[in-house]
């Protein structure tokens, strides 16, 4: 008996030891969790408990120079689905766990969202796609439809019990009181793309689904217009149901921007451009579909109007955009209506460039106002085998430099160009660059092209693979002198260059923002004009050129266009030859000639002649600028 009593004692000791070890193990583990890692768990608990949702800031408005609203916010009714509603949450959990077999079936989705989707005119899978988008913050209501008609909203309200977890909110969407006017300049907004999101400044706090400026001013001044998001920290329970607001910071609305645009001039510019295209069709240039017009303030570089045709309606980007619409907007057949041709297109400037060639000739002593030339129509100075023709094949006869500009005589400029070739100093290129050609002017819009000022170095590099085409030939300079050959310029560059001729030789940086209006706690900002380039010309040369350009509209190729126009205009017609296409019509000008205020450039792709198609458009625009009667004139022009 006593032996097993002894045994029993040691066995109970063993049992006691097991108990002690066991409790000790639990204690050690609790020590590490609660004391050593307590803070990390506390952070996790906090994270569990508090959800942050961001509060969108209202986007700033955009006004024209006179304060006319161009882009504002409008309240729209949006229908959204609350992700924390029990049935929705269960479906979401099942769609988000690893087990794909567990994903909600089509039938379950139809059951849950069928009635709603029918009401909204969507399919239930479209609704589900919006609800289940994992890129949206967990607690953020999933917007499934924007701009829902009030009739449908009132049905949702009346039958509330049939639509659990469905909310109707007022959200701000962009509105364009001026319709399509200035669409290219203003740009459009849309949901941030994944690339944009990845490339965005982390401090800006962009989120998936955020509406941002995509093009134009909306994109350029995105950080001004966007404002600062606010946040609201909400305590939630395990079901994700909000219990109370912990704290919040209200959003700071975006600041508004005042543009240099005068919407009335813009309206006329767009109408004039459309009229010019119609006029081109009438003059038997059926391929004319596209064009651009721009007005600059010659003293400040402010953009007064900026029109590009064809255009588009920025409001189509407010909702989901269909693939068909998008393809149409980005298709060559529809002439890329999204492109802002004023800054994105580079054309041969043709005879409008003769002003620059002429100034180079005057400045470097190659010509002078009354120097006479003989135009026989055919010009063979470079050799009989390389004949070149004046647009007037019968010839202008004996003609002065000044009249050569007015009549746009090609031979005069062939002579000047050939002289520059022989001098081998690339002075023509130097002059062109000093007027801002071949480089971006630095307008506050993205997508500006540089254009091209061809020279020997460029040609040899451009033809690196074709040694036989590398040499700079006399014809290259001669062609450039009449604005053809490899020379390319954007309508913006032409307007800026004519502005410089008008203002005494300073190329002002074109600018569309006039003022950033002050916001809450943020100062406003007024634009100070800056200089983009200083033209390499003297007052004397400019005075000669100005006289010659006035001749263009009073006795030259644009005589018919400006007959009866009360303001003296210094301008130049141009008719650009483009391989395989009809001629491009140009007109560039500044006015009034005595005290220039505005520079205008108009181009119509495949529109025919500058004097008959582009000139009348410029006249309408100038008429609006000077408060004259805006009327469409019909003129004929055979020059180039």
């Amino acid at each position: 008996m006593s032996t097993y009593r002894e045994d029993l004692k040691s066995r109970f000791a063993a049992l006691g030891l097991v108990v002690i070890v066991m409790l000790a193990v639990l204690l050690v583990r609790l020590w590490t969790m609660q004391v050593l890692s307590g803070e990390s768990y506390a952070a996790q608990a906090e994270n569990n408990r508090v959800r942050e949702i961001s509060l969108d800031a209202p986007r700033g408005s955009i006004y024209d120079r006179n304060g006319v609203p161009l882009v504002v916010n409008r309240a729209a009714l949006a229908v959204s689905v609350d992700p924390s509603e029990d049935t929705v949450r269960l479906l979401l959990i099942r769609s988000q766990n690893e087990d794909t077999d567990d994903d909600p079936t089509k039938r379950e989705i139809e059951e849950r969202f069928g009635a709603l989707s029918e009401l909204l005119g969507m399919t239930s899978s479209e609704v589900w796609a919006k609800v289940s988008d994992v890129r949206v913050e967990a607690l953020r209501p999933r917007v499934v439809a924007v701009d829902v008609p009030i009739g449908i909203v009132s049905q949702l309200a009346e039958r509330q019990t049939e639509f659990p977890g469905i909310e109707v909110d007022e959200i701000a969407v962009r509105e364009y009181p001026q319709g399509q006017l200035a669409a290219h300049l203003l740009g459009y907004t849309g949901e941030i793309s994944e690339e944009q999101l990845a490339g965005s400044d982390k401090n800006a706090g962009y989120e998936f689904g955020e509406i941002v400026g995509k093009t134009g001013v909306e994109a350029q001044y995105e950080n001004v217009l966007q404002g600062d998001k606010g946040w609201r920290r909400i305590e939630v329970n395990a079901s994700g149901k909000a219990q109370r607001v912990v704290n919040e910071q209200p959003p700071v609305p975006g600041r508004s921007v005042k543009l240099s645009i005068d919407i009335e001039v813009q309206r006329v510019a767009e109408k004039a451009l459309a009229d010019a295209i119609t006029e081109a069709h009438r003059q038997d240039f059926p391929n004319a579909k596209a064009g651009a017009a721009v007005v600059l303030d010659v003293k400040t570089g402010e953009v007064i109007a900026m029109a590009s045709a064809p255009t588009y309606d920025p409001s189509i980007f407010l909702g989901p955009i269909s693939t068909v619409t998008w393809e149409k907007l980005t298709d060559k057949a529809s002439e890329y209506p999204l492109n802002n041709r004023v800054i994105m297109a580079a054309y041969p400037p043709a005879s409008t460039f003769k002003a620059v060639t002429g100034l180079a000739g005057l400045e470097y002593g190659v010509t002078y106002e009354n120097k006479t030339y003989t135009c026989k129509g055919k010009w063979t100075e470079m050799g009989e085998q390389w004949p070149k023709w004046c647009w007037k094949h019968t010839g202008h006869g004996t003609i002065s430099f000044r009249t050569g500009v007015a009549q746009s005589c090609d031979v005069v400029f062939y002579e000047i160009g050939y002289e520059f070739y022989k001098r081998k100093k690339e002075e023509l290129q130097t002059m062109a660059r000093s007027f801002g050609f071949g480089a971006k002017l630095g307008i506050d819009l993205s997508g500006e092209v540089k254009g091209r000022v061809p020279d020997a170095a460029w040609k040899s590099e451009f033809n690196a693979d074709y040694p036989e085409y590398q040499m700079w030939l006399p014809g290259d300079t001669v062609n450039m002198a009449i604005g053809q050959g490899d020379l390319l310029a954007s309508p913006l560059q032409m307007a800026a260059a004519y502005g410089a001729i008008g203002n005494g030789g300073t190329v002002m940086t074109p600018h569309v923002m006039l003022e950033i209006l002050p916001g809450i706690g943020e100062d406003g900002k007024t634009y100070e004009p800056t200089v983009a380039a200083k033209a390499d010309v003297s007052e004397t040369s400019l005075a000669v050129m100005k006289r010659a350009l006035v001749d263009v509209t009073t006795k030259g190729t644009a005589l018919a266009v400006f007959r009866g126009f009360d303001v003296t205009v210094a301008g130049k017609t141009g008719t650009a030859q483009v391989a395989g296409k009809d001629d491009y019509a140009w007109f560039t000008a500044f006015a009034p000639a005595s005290d220039p205020q505005y520079a205008v450039a108009v181009v119509v792709e495949e529109g025919g002649h500058g004097g008959s198609v582009a000139g009348p458009a410029a006249r309408q625009i100038l008429a609006q600028l000077f408060g004259l009667k805006v009327e469409q004139v019909h003129a004929t022009d055979e020059s180039r």
Binding site: L8, G16, Q34, Y41, A238
Partner: protein
């Protein structure tokens, strides 16, 4: 025989056991009341009723001479079988969390039969083990003892209630240790159990595939086991409970967030917070200090039970004590262990702490049995 009133009192009342039990009951009541904040107001009352109900078996077991049980093995085995089978009888079972472990009559949920079954199992095992007079080595003897365990396990796994099955195994283990099962048998049995468990998971997966449905071991049970091995497996499923429980306990820090101030618990991140996961509430609201206090109380309780065991005048009484100690110890280890990720998640309540009358009544009954052994230590 001592004649002073105090001595006479000490003869029948083991003061430490009673004191620690009362302390645990108070602690448990405080925690349940904190964990049920915001629930229907009857929860605390139900807990107190459970304690009151438990006083009945406590008193009965105390008054009853435990030695009588030794001769009732037959009827006790029948009672054990009925208790364990009853939930499977159509109309009597009520399913909670995948297991049919509740008894209901006419739609009224009565109690979890597996809880009192633990005590009956202890009595049956004690009689079986005591027969060998402290030495179990012959294979035939081992098989005889194990057949009782096997019977209980088969019945309990029918429910199926994996957790309670593990408690039975632990009870048997502790009693066999005290009852003199040789060390090498523990080794052999331990290995066999490990192999069997591994085998069951593999075979069950194969069976599920073959049958095309969830047969044998339920998927949620397999999940719990696998989550224990890799708790990142299913954060929204079984792993979610564990993750939330660990966050609750860990975030309690040294002194806790204060009673009823646990965000994990009050915002419902913690599942089963007043029952199986009550320790997570304690860990969150009272911190390491509170946990240390609880473990201290448990240590004291188990040590006083151990003292009673060693005082027993016979092996049978000692074995009953060993069974109860093993039951409590394992349930403490398993329940707290699961809340901190050391043990698989099962539905085993924490003794004297978890909300639930079946367990409360059973545990107080166990206290009564201990007191019965204590008060009869000098024999008659």
């Amino acid at each position: 025989m001592d004649k002073t009133p105090y001595r006479r009192f000490r003869n029948v009342v083991n003061l430490p056991l009673v004191v620690w039990t009362i302390a645990l009951l108070i602690y448990g009541t405080i925690m349940v009341s904190s964990a049920t904040t915001g629930m229907s107001s009857g929860m605390l009352r139900r807990q107190l009723i459970g304690i009151a109900l438990g006083l009945v078996p406590l008193g009965a077991a105390w008054l009853l001479d435990y030695k009588l049980l030794k001769h009732w093995t037959g009827p006790l085995l029948v009672a054990l079988s009925i208790l364990l089978i009853s939930p499977r009888i159509p109309g009597l079972g009520y399913e909670v969390g995948g297991a049919t472990s509740w008894l209901q009559v006419f739609g009224v949920r009565l109690f979890q039969p597996s809880e009192p079954a633990k005590l009956i199992f202890i009595a049956v095992m004690a009689a079986a083990v005591a027969d060998f007079k402290g030495r179990i080595d012959k294979p035939r003897d081992v098989i005889r003892v194990l057949s009782y365990v096997a019977l209980a396990l088969v019945l309990i796994l029918l429910q199926p209630d994996l957790g309670t099955g593990l408690v039975f195994v632990a009870i048997a283990g502790g009693m066999l240790l005290v009852g003199g099962l040789k060390a090498r048998w523990f080794l052999v049995l331990g290995l066999a159990a490990a192999l069997a468990l591994g085998g069951v998971v593999l075979v069950d997966s194969a069976l599920d595939n073959m049958a095309g449905s969830d047969v044998a071991l339920k998927d949620y049970q397999k999940d719990r086991l696998l989550v224990f091995i890799d708790n990142t497996r299913a954060p929204q499923g079984a792993g979610y409970n564990l993750a939330q429980s660990k966050i609750a306990i860990g975030s309690g820090g040294i002194s806790g967030k204060g009673l009823a101030a646990g965000t994990q618990s009050n915002l419902h991140f913690l599942p089963e917070r007043h029952t199986d996961f009550i320790f997570a509430v304690l860990g969150e609201e009272l911190g390491f200090t509170g946990a240390l206090m609880l473990l201290g109380l448990y240590l004291a309780l188990l040590m006083s039970a151990l003292a009673i065991a060693t005082s027993s005048r016979d092996l049978y009484g000692a074995l009953i004590c060993a069974g109860i100690i093993s039951m409590w110890a394992f349930q403490i280890l398993e329940n707290i262990g699961m809340t901190i990720g050391m043990m698989p998640i099962t539905g085993i309540p924490l003794p004297f702490m978890s909300f639930g009358s079946s367990a409360m009544v059973t545990n107080l009954g166990a206290v009564g049995m201990l007191l019965s052994v204590w008060s009869r230590r000098y024999g008659t």
